[in-house]
């Protein structure tokens, strides 16, 4: 600071030493952002897209094949039976539904807490949420046995005059997951409207004009529209915040409200929610690290974003680690024979103990490397750790679900569970479906929220040029940040 205290027009946040990294690098203009993001949708896809798309579609075909086999033959094609009635199907359900949580966390909770870096990530994370919930929904749907009777889950009058048991956690789950999916679709679509209008106005072919125009609903970007739009967005964020925390809590009630040793714990809801956010962020990074390189989005999806997400993974991973250790401690301290036996078998003597070790390493130990800034800045390390977390979260669900029910109260009810090849192929197939949907999303919709990223550029601040004039007059050029007050208010 050359003339320090005499510069009264200087906004406090402008003081040297507290300056933050810009959210969009290299002083990009509004039209650069439009061009770069719309270009992904408008130009031919790079070869890498096809290399991923074709195997994904084939894998999705495997999923459809296994489902047809399952329905035409019966659920006996799966390996689950008494006592382990909830095998991979429920493990995979909880795995996929958990992945979705990062999308809603980014779009809703980070919006309410005014974390502006979310703007570059939220669109793809929300898309990931929807596709993960689609994959999740397949498993319990088919796990009911007779898929064509799934509509009995919905509270509609039927010929048998039977109504659902609303006191059952399984029914709570139906409501939680279907509400979560619906609200996420609404949130995602409302966020897309201005960007669809951008694509509509740039469309050169008739088909694009009609389709993007149809879904843009005739958006005109007037402030009299933005006013209500922003309110709607804020309200949806406020609605989604408790919703996302409730969904995995309700999923955990499926276990926590039972009397099975290893499931009957009050720590489950917060532990499941932290684990879901943890696994979800890992999946966002897994998808977006290659994506930002392939499509050249480094200026908008910066190292700062990756750094922030790595820190969230570290935080939630540590919470999950705390929960694992607390579970063990309570089983010891609670002095419940069945509970302590369940955990003794889980970690030391049971047939599934290696799953526990994998889980513990992937979820608790691997992310600890993110304490080091160098590790957070190395994309290979970030990518590998993210994939450890993806795997670790699947192991966690396996450790919780089949391990607990394979050892019931009486030794006569003990049994080991082996998944069948159909189950394995089906799980693999959901990855195909997930990737197919995500790649189609990359192909046809803007991967980054164009309007939102424009809004966090410094020149988006209506007082930007006023500040610039003042600063140029007094002490050379400078750049105020969005949200800085009107210079006439600072006296």
């Amino acid at each position: 600071m050359a003339n320090g205290t005499t510069d009264q027009a200087l906004h406090p946040s402008e003081a040297e030493g507290v300056a933050r990294e810009p959210l969009v690098l290299n002083n990009r203009s509004f039209s650069w952002i439009t061009e770069r993001i719309c270009g992904i949708v408008e130009n031919r896809q790079p070869l890498g897209w096809w290399f991923l798309f074709i195997p994904s579609v084939l894998l999705a075909g495997v999923l459809i094949g296994t489902l047809v086999y399952l329905v035409s033959t019966g659920v006996g094609v799966w390996g689950n039976n008494q006592p382990v009635a909830w095998g991979w199907a429920i493990v995979n359900f909880v795995f996929w539904i958990g992945i979705g949580h990062a999308g809603t966390l980014i779009s809703a909770i980070l919006f309410l807490t005014r974390q502006k870096w979310r703007t570059s990530v939220n669109r793809s994370a929300e898309a990931m949420t929807l596709f993960a919930v689609v994959c999740a929904g397949i498993f319990p749907g088919f796990h009911v046995g007779r898929f064509w009777m799934v509509w009995f889950l919905a509270p509609v009058p039927n010929a048998n005059a039977i109504w659902q048991n609303f006191k059952s956690p399984l029914l709570w789950d139906v409501f939680a997951v279907s509400t979560y999916f619906t609200v996420s679709v609404i949130f995602w679509y409302i966020g897309l409207i201005p960007d669809l209008a951008t694509l509509r106005d740039r469309a050169r072919t008739k088909v694009r004009k009609v389709l993007y125009g149809f879904f843009a609903l005739g958006w005109r970007g007037g402030n009299r529209q933005w006013q209500h739009y922003e309110m709607a967005y804020l309200l949806l964020a406020a609605l989604s915040t408790p919703l996302v925390l409730s969904v995995h809590s309700v999923v955990s009630f499926d276990f926590a409200t039972s009397v099975v040793p290893g499931w009957h714990t009050t720590i489950f809801p917060p532990y499941f929610v932290a684990g879901a956010i943890f696994g979800g962020f890992a999946m966002v990074l897994t998808l977006m690290l290659p994506c930002r390189l392939i499509y050249g989005l480094q200026d908008m999806f910066t190292m700062k974003h990756i750094d922030n997400m790595a820190k969230i993974i570290l935080l939630t991973g540590t919470i999950v680690g705390y929960a694992y250790i607390m579970e063990l401690f309570i089983s010891y301290y609670g002095a419940n024979k069945y509970e302590s036996d369940a955990f003794y078998l889980r970690i030391l003597a049971g047939p599934y103990r290696y799953y526990y070790y994998c889980m513990f390493f992937c979820n608790v130990i691997a992310p600890q490397i993110f304490w080091f800034e160098k590790a957070r800045k190395n994309l290979w390390i970030v990518f590998i750790v993210a994939n450890f977390v993806n795997a670790g979260m699947w192991f966690e669900r396996f450790v919780i679900i089949p391990t607990s029910i394979s050892v019931d109260f009486l030794p006569a009810q003990w049994g080991i569970y082996h998944p069948s090849i159909t189950e394995k192929l089906m799980f693999l197939g959901t990855f195909g479906l997930f990737m197919t949907l995500f790649l189609l999303f990359l192909r046809f919709l803007p991967v980054i929220a164009i309007a939102e990223v424009k809004g966090v550029l410094p020149q988006a601040d209506p007082h930007y040029h006023d500040w610039k004039k003042i600063k140029e007059g007094r002490r050379g050029p400078g750049f105020p940040r969005p949200g800085s007050p009107d210079p006439s208010d600072v006296k």
Binding site: W163, N165, N223, G455, A460, D461
Partner: protein, 185 residues
């Protein structure tokens, strides 16, 4: 584009482009102070503080959403208690349906409250915005297309009681418009 409209058809209004968000913000303040009523600014993103510059009040969409939430809340209570008490009483897990078991009904009540609120937000928003409306006179304007890229536009409609073809154009020039286009109605 001539401002002395020879056709008998009334034009839709003027579209004026401004250099930056700052210019548009100050222009909006002047249009507001000049007493125009039927006008709007069109921007690629919501400009912070523009509601104030345009003299607009808070959006009451939140009221609609509150209504939606209450409807969801009551729907959930009626759905659960009517079916559990009157239509098909199930006493499982040792839990009858009475005041003592109310906590078991919280999750579904919560979820339906959120679900109905979200639908109220979506449909309330569309009603407040008069959307979908796929056709609009502004879409005929070449200049207007820039709003979704990097254009900062101000539109004054001819229906505004203060609208006078020549004077309004001069007014827009005086507040710093860099391009002005007359849009046919």
């Amino acid at each position: 584009m001539s401002t002395t409209a020879t056709s008998t058809k009334q034009p839709f209004g003027f579209v004026a482009e401004f250099e930056s968000a700052t210019d548009l913000y100050h222009a909006a303040e002047k249009v507001r102070d000049a007493g125009f009523k039927r006008w709007d600014v069109h921007t690629p993103f919501p400009v912070h503080g523009m509601d104030h510059a345009m003299g607009m009040r808070k959006s009451w969409l939140s009221g609609v959403v509150l209504g939606g939430g209450l409807t969801g809340f009551l729907t959930a209570l009626v759905l659960q208690f009517f079916t559990q008490v009157n239509l098909y009483p199930t006493v499982v897990q040792g839990k009858p349906t009475n005041l003592n078991t109310v906590p078991a009904f919280f999750p579904v009540t919560f979820e339906l409250t959120i679900l109905f609120s979200a639908f109220a937000t979506l449909f309330g928003l569309l009603i407040f915005l008069f959307l979908p409306r796929w056709n609009h006179p502004l879409f005929e304007s070449g200049l207007f297309k820039k709003f979704s890229d990097d254009g900062f536009l101000l539109v004054i409609e001819s229906k505004d009681p203060k609208f006078r073809a020549e004077k309004t154009r001069e007014f827009l020039e005086s507040i710093g418009a860099k391009a002005i286009e007359l849009v046919e109605g």
